[in-house]
Each structure stands twice: as C-alpha cells, then as structure tokens.
Symmetry: C2
Subunit: 483 residues, 2 copies
C-alpha cells in the first residue's frame, strides 16, 4: 500500500493548499474588521490552517528532494483537496455561530468550493457580512482551482501516459510550455474579469460589498448571493451585466487567453465556442418567444429574464431573477433539460459540457456518413485536429456514467428521506453544480430541511460532478490500489 501513494508528496500539496486558504481567511478577517464584526472565528480558522500547513510541510520535508509527484498521487490529491478545503472552509461558519451545525456548515462549504451554490441558509441576510464574504470567496477559490486543474494539471498528467484526461488534453491545446507563467496569466484573466464585473456593478449603483460578492459568484459560476432575493431585486442593467459575465465565465479560459494574446485565428477555429453561442442563442430565443406570447411580460422583460435564466442554467451558475417554476410549462421544461448542457470545457461552468455534446453529434453524423458511403474513410475532427479514439470513447462513455451516478444518487437520496422528484432534481443539480433544484429544493427554496444523510450524499455528488466523475471514481477501482 505504501508504494502506491507517496503520502509525503501528497502532504506537500495539502500543505500548500492550507496556506492558500489561510490567505483567503486573512482577507475575510480584514472584512470582519472593516464591518466591526467578530474577527476571532477567522483568526482561529486561520491559525488552524497555518498549523496544518506547517505540520504537513514538516512531514513532507523528510522525502527525498528529487521525488516528483506521480499520477496516482495527483489523482488522490485532487479529490482529497476538495474535501480538505471544504472542511477548513466550514470552520468560520461554525466558529462564528453563523451555521452552528457541522453538517450544514460543511454542506455550505462544499457547495461553495465546488461552485455549486446550493444553500442551507433560510435567511441569508441575517449572517454577518464577513461570513457572507467568506461564503462568496469559497466560490472564487473553487473557480480558479477548477480552471488550473482542467487546463494545466489534467493535460500534464495525460502527457505522462495517463489516459484519464484525454478529453482536456486533446480538446484544449497545449497553450504554453512554461506552466508557472500560464497559471499566472490565467489567474490574471480571472482577476481581470472579476475586477471588471465589480466596477460595472458599482457603476449600476450596487454597493462595493455586494458587487464583490456577486462578482465572485458570477466568475466562478457559483451562484451564492449575499441577498435573499439573489439578483432578482436589482435593476435590469445589473441583470444584463451579470448575464454577460456568466456567459464569459462559461467560456473556455483558453479563449480569453488567446483573446489577450490577440490570437483571433485560434478563437475562430474553436468549434466548442460556436456551439456554445449557437445553443445559448437558440434556447434563449425560444424561451423569449414563449414568454412574450404566454405571459403579460414586455418583449424586453421576456428577453432579459429568458436569457438570464438560460445562461444561468447552461453555465450552471444558478443565479435566479424569476421563479421560473411560474413560467409556462414548456419553458420550465426546456430550462430543466438545459442543466445537462453545461458550459465550455476549461471554464468554471459545471454540467456535462458543450464539447461532449458536440462530439456526440459528430459521432452520429460520422456514423450516418459511414453507413451511406461504406467505402469512404471519414475522420472526426475538432477545432481542425483529428480526435484520438480513446478520447472519443471516453467522452461517449461519460454520458452513461453520468446517468448511472445520477440514478444511484437519486435512489440514495430517496433512502435518505427525499421524495422522488426532489431526489432526482437535487441529484441532477448537485452533479451539474447548478444550485437550486426543482420541487422542495426549487429556486425559491433551499436545502435546509433535508436530513443530514441527504446533505452528505449531496456534498459527495457535488464533488463528483465538479471533478468530472472519473477523477474521483478512479480512486474506487482495484487497479488504482495495485502496485
């Protein structure tokens, strides 16, 4: 067993992560000071994080200098990290008394770091501002974590021969040889988008605190809001700003990277982007028309509410303006099925992802072409490059795996006390990272009343969905634990 994983290297990874969390807690402590709220909950959490960081660093030092992290260590570290940061992240909630129950605090923290945005809070505005800031910050940290994971870490693991993340490595081209510099640039883009949105929200009359929190929630496609009514209470201008930034956050960050480098040829070649734009536009227009002809809403109102909700669903952000359960049934249904779409790969968005749907269409087209012309040889291409067969099969299998996890999750949730509809919808929204569900966990409702068992099952589904299933599932295979 000790040969399978190199625990000292894993300790090193976790140690670094502890320090990142410590920095984030320090900032939140600053927010507490500004608003004259209790600072101690953050100080305690910070100290504990630093202590764990130093301790783990000490353990990891005893390893040889030359040892580099192996693929299995990396996989183990990824899943472990998400649970670890969620545990640390729950501390300020517990220490401050904002969310006294451990399971509730942990649920809120996992929901934050996985950028899901489901909440157990019934009265959000009753929380101290510093706690709400921390809550939104967990989204923001989770979001950049996912971008680095799927644009940098996973493809590099594949290059070492590990085929698990063939999707990410073939789909997203190797963008830069110097990893540290790429990470810095991605972080810069992430910061830039957050800053831009904050300024635009401020310009719309939103206060600084809410502007920052909502920007965190948008850029991470998280969905936590410091307001009980989410984005619903704000002006149309604010809703348009949030809508645009949700859409940008659901775009592959490699696109933003290329935009920054003015490499427009690469952007023009990106088929996933075109697919993403086309699908969003079509669904948005259909729902706009449904609202125009079936409700009392004006055209502008219909357009705004439709596109806001559609983008929120496709990118799996989960911000709500209108309770879409009150919309015409067909609109409601299209909205529900949109959650299975997901944004682009390499974005903060959840869901199945556009590129996978695009590849299924390509497979079906290829299949009919091959059937019609048995002699001809067709090659499937994406963004102008041929697609690796293993990548292709992995993507095709992903749908069944996703559906199977969904079924098992739903059944477990029913066992944990939910009714069938709520179980299915909350399993689906947790896996896709949407946040609000349908039924007793609908957009106007929350997850407070669920049993502890149901909450814990949902946290697992959130992590599973966020890490695109296989990353977590591989830890449960016999081969993983063999030498």
């Amino acid at each position: 067993m000790s040969q399978v994983l190199h625990f000292r290297l894993i300790a090193k990874v976790i140690s670094r992560i502890s320090f990142i969390i410590a920095v984030a807690l320090l900032i939140s402590a600053g927010v507490a000071v500004i608003y004259k709220e209790a600072v101690l909950p953050f100080v305690y959490s910070l100290l504990l994080s630093v202590l764990l960081g130093v301790g783990l660093d000490f353990v990891s030092r005893r390893t040889e200098k030359k040892a580099i992290i192996q693929r299995k260590d990396a996989f183990f570290s990824v899943t472990l990290s998400w649970f670890y940061v969620s545990l640390l992240g729950s501390l300020p909630f517990i220490f401050s008394g904002a969310i006294p129950s451990f399971v509730n605090a942990f649920f809120e923290s996992v929901s934050g770091f996985t950028t899901t945005g489901s909440s157990i809070l019934t009265d959000i505005e009753s929380l101290p501002k510093s706690a709400l800031f921390w809550r939104s910050l967990t989204h923001w940290i989770g979001g950049i974590g996912i971008i680095v994971l799927f644009i940098i870490v996973m493809p590099s693991l594949h290059e070492g021969g590990y085929h698990l993340f063939t999707l990410e490595s073939s789909v997203q081209e190797k963008i830069h040889p110097k990893i540290r510099s790429v990470v810095q640039r991605l972080f810069f883009i992430y910061l830039l988008l957050t800053g831009l949105e904050t300024i635009l929200l401020l310009a719309g009359g939103m206060n600084l605190f809410e502007s920052v929190c909502h920007s965190f929630g948008t850029i991470a496609t998280g969905g936590f809001s410091p307001k009980n009514t989410s984005i619903g209470g704000y002006s149309p201008y604010i809703q348009y700003v949030v809508m645009i930034f949700m859409f940008l956050s659901g775009t592959n960050f490699v696109i933003h990277y290329n935009l920054l480098k003015r490499d427009f040829t690469k952007i023009a070649k990106n088929e996933e982007l075109k697919f993403y734009i086309a699908v969003t536009a079509i669904i948005g227009v259909v729902i706009t028309l449904l609202l125009v002809f079936n409700t009392e809403k004006s055209v502008e109102e219909s357009f705004r509410e439709s596109f806001f909700q559609v983008i929120s669903m496709i990118t799996c952000t989960g911000f709500a303006t209108e309770d879409y359960l009150l919309w015409p049934k067909i609109a409601w249904m299209i909205i529900f099925f949109s959650m299975f779409l997901g944004g682009c790969s390499g974005s903060t968005a959840g869901g199945i992802k556009m590129v996978r749907h695009l590849l299924v269409f390509k497979n079906i087209r290829l299949f009919f072409n091959e059937s019609a012309h048995p002699q001809a040889v067709f090659r499937m291409k994406l963004n102008g490059n041929a697609i690796n067969e293993t990548t292709n099969k992995t993507i095709l299998s992903y749908f069944s795996t996703y559906f199977l996890v969904f079924i098992v999750g739903s059944i477990l949730l029913v066992t944990a006390g939910l009714d069938a509809g709520s179980a299915a919808s909350s399993a689906a929204t947790a896996m896709a990272g949407i946040g609000p569900g349908i039924g007793t966990v609908g957009p106007a409702s929350n997850f407070a009343h669920l049993t502890d068992a149901a909450k814990l099952i949902l946290t697992f589904l959130m992590v599973l969905g966020r890490l695109e299933i296989y990353t977590v599932l591989v830890l449960f295979t016999r081969n993983f634990w063999k030498d």
Copy 2:
C-alpha cells in the same frame, strides 16, 4: 429521386405484408364467428388488405425479374411497414365501432404492433371478444416481426456493407446460412413458447380465450390484456407462469434456437444472458426485501409481486399485478429506472437492451485498465469475440441519441397539452415500449384523455423506440436521399 429507392421492390414487400395481415384478419373473423359477433368489420378489413396486396403485387411485377432489394429500400420498407400494418390494424376497430375515433384506433394499433401495450381503452371488457383477440394478435405479429427483423434482416443488411446494424450482426452470430430455414425455426420457437404458455395458463384454470390472448401479450412482451385488471385478478400460479414466460421472451431468441439444437456451449458463452439474469435477480431481490420490511405483505407475496413487476419492467412487457405507485418510494423509483434497462437483443423486449449496458460497463472498465497500465494493450470482447470499433461507438452513441429523442419527445408532448411529469414518463414508456406510464398515464390509468396531437406523437415515439431509433432516423438524413 427515383434512383434512390426502388418503389416497385418496396411495393412487393408491402404486398407480402398485406397478405400476412389478411391471414391474421381471417383468423380474427373466425373468432368473431365462434363468439357470434359481427364478422363484417373483419371481412371488410380483410378485403381491403387483399385488394391492397394484389394491387401492390401488380405494380411490383413490372420490375425486372433479377432486381434485388437494396439497403436503402430495406430501411425505407421497415419503417413504412410498421406504419402500414398499424393503419390496416386500426380498420377492424373502426369498422366494428369498438374504437370509433381514427386517432384512437391508430394509437391502439401502433401500440399493438410495436408491442408497447399502451391503451386508450377505459373499459377493455366492453369490447367484443373478436376485437380483443385482434388487439392481442397485433402484439403477436409485431413480436415475431421484430425477431425476424433484428436476427435476420438487419445483420444481412450489414453484411452488404451497411454499418447501421453492426450491433445486431456482431452481437448475434450468424446462426444459419439458409435464411428461410432460420426464419421457419424462429417462428417454430415463437409458436412453441406461445403454445406452452397457453397450455400452462389453461392448466391454471384460465379460459381458452384469455389464455391465448395473454400468451400473445406475454411472448411479444406486449402487455395488452383482455381484462380490465390485467393479470392482477388471477391466481399466484398464473402470475408465476406469466412471469416466467415474460422472462423467456426477453431472452435472445438465438439462445432458444441454440437450446433447441442442444448447443449448450454457445449458451454458456453468452455474456448478455448472464448479465440479464444477474440484473433481474439483484433488482428483484432488493425490491422483495423492501416489500417484506416496509409493507404488510408476506414473503411469498413480496417475492411474487416484486419479481413480476421487475421482469415486466425490464422486458418492457407492462403487465401489472399491483399498482406499484402504492409501493415504498424507493421501490417505485427503482422500478421506474428499470424501464431503461430493456431485455436482451434479439428478443421481443423493448428498452435500451442489456447488451448495450454491458458494453458501457466494458468500456469503462477498459478505460480504467488502460489508464492504470498505459503500456498494455487491452481488447474488448463480447461472448469471446473481439468487438468491432464502429459497433462499439454506435452503441455508446445510442444512449445520447436515446436521451435526446426522449427530451425532444417530452417537450413536444408538453406542447400537446401534457403536464411535465406525464410527458416525460409517457415519452419514456412509449420509447421503451413499456405501456403504462407514471402520473396521469400510470399503470392504473390509460391514455384515453390525451389530446390527438399527443397520441400521434406517442405513436411516432413507439415506432422509433421499437426500431431502435437509427433505422427510422436514417430516413431523415440528407445522405439517405442522395444517389
């Protein structure tokens, strides 16, 4: 256009089918005579069928003697046939006044020939016996039609280079070179199973009429019953007999064929069969335990009702003994998800089919194996034979296509006036060929109250599901209509 399809050859196929229907109508006319019911509806329908048969035969004679049917003609004929027989099949219902509305009669007929078993009848027992006999006979004809289609026709189309039905041809080995003799043997097995069940039902005290009708419904995994309470009103013995024959009908008929030839090695090698038995046993036992511990039912009762319902759902027969909506929620949910399983390929069962699920499992396992041992070369095998890559991709794509058709169908049904839950469940049950749905179309309910638009959408979904989607979908591709 005239070069794409050879309409005279297609006319020949449809002409032959008209005569088969004429024979079936003659038998039903006989039943009407026996029960002293109106014979004219059957005579008129018979005459029309013969007239159409003769007319089409006359048209087809003007083709050259040597012309053989091309792949595109075959595909076109398959979809056309199912709609054609359903139109003929609706005539006796209309002429007899048993089902006066054309849409209702057509719905009942499509439901019969696709072996779906959904009904628009509210009081089944009020119909003349001959109409009920005809109704059950449509199942029986549809069932043998599917077996011949997927064991004989599709693989032979593939051998001509058409890759569409790679599933059937690779999964089901070429069983006999002389096609006519194979068809005869399959028909013999089909007749044998029907006869056996009829005798066993008679032995249990069921009258001859009901025994024959229920046997037709069982062997075709259709689900039509001449009784309002379906199988529910009969003795446990009857329920066991029906249960066993549903299970046998959900088995690949190539297995029965090998059994007849005493070729046990081939049976022992069949992985789909083992998977089918294992899945049925596991789900059956889980639901039995749920019923034992959560209801007042005895162990035998729980076992019987559980296995009856599970086999009925997995094989997509749709016979009901208990209203399973009254069962514990978890049981209810497992039952619902079981409808996506489907029986074995090459059986009369509907659904996605066991072999596809098995192959997904094999793909995922292969994927993890390849990830763990990047140097090693793994080959995926089924029943001891290597699996063709195109077959594999076709099967993996099938899930997404199935889900997409399901979503589009559900949305269309909502547009046609159904509520979301009923739309989704009736789309799912129509595609899988289950029959009863959940919600307003549940097992204790029926499809009478739906709008005509909804009924017609459902008939299309039934045919689409029965012919495994691609067979129908290919007719809507541009390539199909190109020379």
